[in-house]
Structures are given as C-alpha cells and as structure tokens.
C-alpha cells in the first residue's frame, strides 16, 4: 500500500471513530433523558414529602455557560430550600387538617387552587411551592451545549413564534429585554394561553419573586431565572451576559416536551397509549 493511501485510511478511520464517539455521547444523553422523567414531572404526583428532582445532566455539564459552582449552589441551596420549606408547610397543614383530601393532592393541583389553602399557609406555600416548581422547569428546559452552537425551535413551535412575534429574532429581543429590564428578582417566561385561539396563544410574560404564570392559568414553555443567585458568581452585575449565555443552553426539544406535558394535563382523554 502506498503511504498516501495508508494515511488516508488512517484519517478515515479516525473520523469514523470520533463520529462514533459523538454518536455514543449523543445516545448517552438521549438515554438519560429517556430514562429519567423531566424535573417537573414529580409535581403531578402526590407525595408525603417531595424530593429534589434529578437533573438531566451533571453539575458541570452546563459549562461553559453556567459553571458548576452556580449549578450546585442554585440546586442544593436555593431549589433545596424551597423544597424543604414547601414540605414542612404541607406537613403542618396535613397534620392540622387530617381529613382534608385536597391537602394530599399533587402539589401542582394545590398550586393551581391556592384559594383552597388555609390563610395561615397560603402565602408561604405560594412562595415555596412556586420556588420548587419554577426551578424544576428552569432545569428542565436547559441542556448542555459545550460547543455553543446556536439552537432554534422545532418547526411547529417556530411557526407559532413567527405568528405571535413577527419572527424568531423579534421574540428573542423581546424576551431578552424583559430579562434585562426586570427590576429586582423574578422570571421571564414564554407561555401558552390555551384560552386564546390557535396562532395567538404564545406570549412573553414576567413574574416577580417566585410568582408563577401557572397560577394565572397559563402554561409555561420556557423560563429564565433572573434572580441574582442565578448568575452572580460568574457574571456579577452583568445580567445581560448571563442572558446571552443562557440562550445557548435552551433545549427546544425539552420545550416541546413541556408543551405536550401541559396539553396532556388539559386533555387527558386525548392521551395516546
């Protein structure tokens, strides 16, 4: 064999190997997401005490956009705090009203009907269950993007975005401006309002603190946490550069899955077996 063909064969083999490795990694990532439920799934399950949902990625896998120390502090510090407080409020309430079956329903149901929660627990439950649920959705719609490739919505979601916002870049701009302009702590959301006619259901909304559009009967598809704890270790006062980084982490497939999740909840009869 000539040296040229040996080198060529060697190069081809190398490319094939790295492509196979990439496929394996992709498969592994898909396997993880296929094997574990998305982080928000557990809010539909009744529980005596809610666990912290598993993240669909390792603590360092959102690097370089979000570093490990922020993920850990955010997850084990803040998300965990909301979980603990939510659980203790539920426990106290259930002890006080052992015959109240509503108190034993999945946290999502309770959260959607906060009026039914006793006055003494309502505000604290709203804040802490809000924190628990908001963060579950936040983790769910992100996925690793170490190469920083630009990502775009699926065709059907893109079409809807174009119907509501002129084009994707207009949506991107509106969302980003809301994030940067939000005064204090809160979230920016892409939500679907099922009460509107098709093609006019999507909008960008903001909530303060741990408020949630779920309590307004809106279905969140995408969320960005702009509390300072979400970005301070890496970006400090530069919220804008955190937002720029975050866009690269948005997993539009996860967004579609979340969209389907709400649709299944609203139309359980249509669920395919």
């Amino acid at each position: 064999m000539s040296p040229v063909s040996v080198v060529t064969l060697w190069l081809v083999a190398l490319c094939a190997a790295s492509e196979q490795q990439q496929q394996q990694q992709q498969q592994r990532k898909e396997d993880l997401r296929a094997v574990i439920q998305p982080p928000y799934y557990l809010i539909t399950v009744p529980a005596e005490s809610y666990i912290l949902p598993l993240l669909p990625y390792d603590y360092d896998q959102l690097e370089p956009q979000i570093e490990k120390s922020t993920v850990r502090a955010h997850y084990f510090g803040h998300h965990e705090n909301y979980r603990k407080k939510m659980n203790s409020i539920l426990t106290l309430w259930r002890l006080e009203e052992p015959d109240n079956s509503f108190s034993k329903q999945p946290i999502l149901n309770i959260f959607k009907q906060l009026d039914e929660v006793p006055d003494k627990y309502r505000l604290r439950l709203k804040n802490n269950a809000g924190g628990f649920i908001n963060h579950a959705i936040y983790w769910a719609v992100m996925s690793p993007n170490p190469n920083g490739t630009e990502r775009f919505p699926s065709a059907s979601l893109m079409k809807e975005i174009e119907e509501s916002f002129e084009n994707f870049y207009q949506f991107h701009l509106v969302f980003t401006n809301e994030a940067v302009d939000l005064l204090g702590s809160g979230y920016v959301w892409l939500v679907r309002d099922h009460k509107q006619e098709p093609g006019k259901q999507l909008s960008v909304v903001i909530t303060k603190d741990q408020d949630s559009p779920i309590t307004q009967d809106l279905d969140p598809l995408l969320v960005l946490d702009v509390w300072e704890h979400a970005y301070y270790l890496k970006h400090q006062y530069r919220r804008g550069s955190y937002v720029d980084d975050w866009w690269l982490l948005v997993d539009w497939q996860a967004v579609d899955e979340l969209d389907q999740f709400w649709k299944r909840i609203r139309n359980p009869a249509k669920e395919e077996l």
Partner: protein, 230 residues
C-alpha cells in the same frame, strides 16, 4: 446689542467653544446625582463583608442606580416640559427603583464601618431597651425580618415620628423606607443577593449575622438623635 453680541448669537456665529460647553454642562450637571464618597477602603469591612463585594456593590450597583436616576429625572423634566402627564406617570417605577437605590445605599455606606466593638450607648440604648427589651433582642428581630425577605429588599430599623418609638420594617426591591412607610431610616440591612452572594452564596443568615460586627453605632445614634429632634 445686536444678535451677534448675545451668548446665543456668539455660539451660533462662532460655533460652540469649550467655554460654552462648560457653561452648558455645568448647568445641566448641577442637578445630577453623584455617587457619595465611601468613608473607608473596600477592605475595611473584612472579614464580614469582602472587599470584592464592596467594590462591585459600590462601583457597579450603586453607580448604576445613580446614573439611571439621572436619566429618569432628565426624562421627567422633558415630560413635564411637554405637559405629558402619562409619560410622567410612566417614569414612576424607574424613579422609585433608582431613586430608592441611591437613597438606600447612601445610608448603607454610612451605617457600616470597620469593626469597632462598640455597642449603642445613652439615648439610643435606652430607646432600644424600651422598644425591644434588649440590644440582643433587636438584633434577633431585625435579623429574622431581613432573612425572611422574599426576593430582593431591605430590612430596616426605623424611627416612628408619630409614636416616638423604634420600629422594624422591611421593604421590597429598592423602595425607600421613609417614602414608603414614613419611618425615618436608622439602620438598613441590604438583603439583595448582590450584597452577599460572592462571599456567603445562598446562606443569607450567615451574612446577616456577620453584618452586626460592622454596624456603625455612632452613625445610627446620630440619625436617631436627628430624627427625634426633627
């Protein structure tokens, strides 16, 4: 004097010179807010509040409130000149947020100082003991209230002019204490995450506990004296 002899005439005829620019600039900057001097070095509050936090808190966060306040006030002037009431009202959140941020932080830098080991004395001590039982109890109550703030905000020790008593209050975001509640601010604890995150991460209670080491009681006492007499 003909038109060319007037200031405007000279500007238009000769072009704007640096002397004119200085005049124009000083008129407009007379009403501009400025970052107050920090009474100590960035590292003066260590180890309770790190130099890194102090530098960013002062040079970035407070400075941004100041510049955004100036922008909002300029827009307010324009809106008023045009008689545009709607635009005036639309500026209210920006004025509240940035004006409050400037007021609050200006007080905060004075409220703090290098650890002195001092405790409140005389009048302030008596007032604290009257309204809270003990200095320790004041610390517990203000700490608890500050830690419990949902989201971003401030915990305050304030003076109630009507009752002549000390009172604890919390305000969300940058809402200034006096304009919001009528209480005169004596000592504020900033519990925005930017005030502590680089050092304490999510453990706000540790930061609130630590800040008492750098409370400047003579500043708090003089605010109290002024509020009582005013």
């Amino acid at each position: 004097m003909n038109f060319r002899g007037t200031m405007l005439g000279k500007i238009l005829w000769q072009g704007v010179t640096s002397r004119h620019l200085t005049a124009i600039w000083s008129i407009s900057s007379r009403s501009k807010h400025k970052l107050p001097d920090l009474p100590y070095d960035f590292n003066a509050l260590e180890p309770y509040i790190s130099a890194e936090i102090m530098k960013i808190h002062y040079e970035k966060h407070h400075a941004t409130y100041v510049s955004n306040l100036n922008v909002a006030e300029e827009k307010l002037g324009e809106a008023k000149a045009k008689g545009d009431i709607s635009a005036v009202i639309a500026l209210a959140p920006a004025l509240r947020f940035n004006g409050g941020g400037h007021i609050n932080h200006s007080i905060f830098w004075q409220n703090l100082g290098p650890k002195s080991g001092e405790e409140p004395t005389d009048d302030l001590k008596s007032a604290i003991e009257l309204d809270f039982g003990s200095i320790e109890n004041l610390k517990i109550q203000l700490s608890t209230a500050s830690i419990a703030v949902q989201g971003s905000g401030w915990g305050w020790l304030g003076y109630n002019r009507q009752s002549g008593r000390l009172q604890i209050a919390v305000c969300p975001n940058q809402d200034p204490l006096e304009a919001t509640t009528g209480l005169v601010p004596l000592f504020g604890i900033d519990v925005w995450e930017h005030a502590y995150y680089l050092q304490y991460k999510n453990v706000r209670p540790d930061y609130v506990k630590a800040i008492w080491n750098v409370a400047n009681w003579s500043d708090i006492a003089s605010r109290f004296a002024k509020a009582k007499s005013g």
